[in-house]
């Protein structure tokens, strides 16, 4: 074990991260099968019923004012039948991730802002997915989880992470640079490590790992990593859950996925509506500071 204040080794960091609780089993199972054409409404309802917290969140939402025309919904199967498979699946991912972030956020960490930023990137990735022939459900999950490593680092190394944030403020640098300087590795690798540990689909793990690629690291990328990178830049430009300056957008990423600036501009309105929907799904902590 390192002495207090000494930089921890890569192995020590990964070991600490490995001890973090995982996302609820039901949420992971739904994410794993998100593009499985065989996934059925019955299975989805059963998966939700295995997790009381998740079931409560889903029922709270489907019985909220947004769905008042529905009447009273008391079981997961009813919710799936009435609202549809895709809506409930997205909702479970949003609620599951929000609950997980809330439970595992360290005291040094602004979890509410983190959640809004994750929702911002998730909603942009989802809104742009159809323009580039990708699955909106998968890109949404990749966007929601892209900064998972930040939460993991803040939860496992709270003192060091406080120093990371001080370093970032002092030098006005990107969070990844501050993490490298203080801890010796950045959140994208930690996030991907955790996602692989949970056996999430590899394209989501890759997107988490590579979303900070700059135009200089053109190296072989994945389409989903490119889309999450573009979405992250746009979240800053549209100020969806972010307060920092806009980072550099990789032109290569836009070319590779075939996204034009015109398509992006025409999506701004839809993106802001989607973001509003997702914050509402995630409950009070999401909608709290929406205005």
């Amino acid at each position: 074990m390192s002495a207090p204040g000494a930089k921890k080794s890569l192995e020590e960091i990964l070991h600490a991260v490995d001890t973090l609780p995982s996302l609820p089993k039901a949420v992971i199972e739904i994410m794993r099968t998100i593009d499985d054409p065989e996934a059925s409404a019955t299975t989805l309802a059963k998966q939700i019923e295995t997790d009381l917290g998740l079931l409560t969140s889903v029922l709270r939402l489907v019985n909220s004012s947004r769905y008042t025309a529905r009447g009273s919904v008391s079981t997961a199967s009813q919710a799936v039948v009435l609202l549809g498979f895709n809506v409930i699946r997205n909702l479970v991912c949003a609620v599951g991730v929000a609950d997980y972030f809330q439970k595992n956020g360290a005291s040094s960490f602004d979890y509410e802002q983190f959640l809004r930023h994750s929702a911002g990137v998730g909603s942009i990735a989802k809104s742009l997915a159809t323009h580039v022939g990708m699955s909106p459900d998968t890109t949404f999950v990749a966007g929601m989880l892209h900064d998972l490593g930040q939460l993991a680092l803040a939860a496992t190394l709270p003192d060091e992470y406080r120093m990371v944030m001080d370093h970032q403020m002092l030098h006005g640098c990107h969070i990844s640079e501050a993490e490298q300087a203080v801890i010796g590795m950045d959140h994208s690798h930690i996030g991907a490590h955790l996602a692989r540990l949970w056996h999430l689909p590899e394209e989501i793990c890759e997107a988490i790992e590579r979303h900070h690629q700059t135009p200089e690291d053109y190296a072989p990328s994945s389409p989903m990593a490119d889309l999450v990178h573009v979405s992250e830049v746009l979240a800053h430009a549209l100020e969806l859950g972010t307060s920092g300056q806009v980072p550099l957008l990789s032109e290569g990423a836009m070319h590779r996925i075939g996204l034009s600036m015109l398509q992006i501009k025409q999506s701004f309105g839809r993106i802001e509506e989607e973001y509003g929907d997702i914050l509402q799904m995630m409950g009070p902590s999401g909608t709290h500071q929406q205005a």
């Binding site: 004012s65 947004r66 909106p136 430009a237 300056q245 701004f268």
Partner: protein, 108 residues
């Protein structure tokens, strides 16, 4: 002449008579309501049935010309700050311009 602005709100807070400012699509991208459609009880129920969450409507803009001018200046200043760390030309210049035009559309 009455000036209008676009406002996004949850469908549960929309009211009959409001006019749709941006076409409403379902999860598959299919258009459910065109821009300019006036909302009715039945079209709102139809949107709820199709799980549409937020929609954009036109709302009377009661801000004075001076208030709008001040708001436009604030937007330009904010965008200059947001894009202060990146090149002003190329892709970043185009993105900056797209954001500026989008924000200004709401203030014209």
């Amino acid at each position: 002449m009455t000036r209008m602005r676009i406002k996004s709100l949850p469908i549960g807070l929309a009211e009959p008579g409001m006019v749709v400012a941006r076409e409403v699509r379902n999860a598959d991208g299919q258009v459910l309501l065109q821009t300019g459609t006036t909302l009715s009880e039945s079209s709102m129920s139809a949107l709820l049935r199709r799980n549409v969450g937020h929609i954009s409507i036109f709302q009377e803009d009661t801000r004075s010309a001076e208030e709008l001018q001040a708001e436009r200046a604030r937007v330009v200043e904010r965008i200059n700050h947001l894009f202060g760390n990146v090149p002003q030309d190329g892709t970043m210049g185009m993105l900056r311009q797209a954001i500026l035009e989008y924000r200004m559309e709401a203030l014209s």
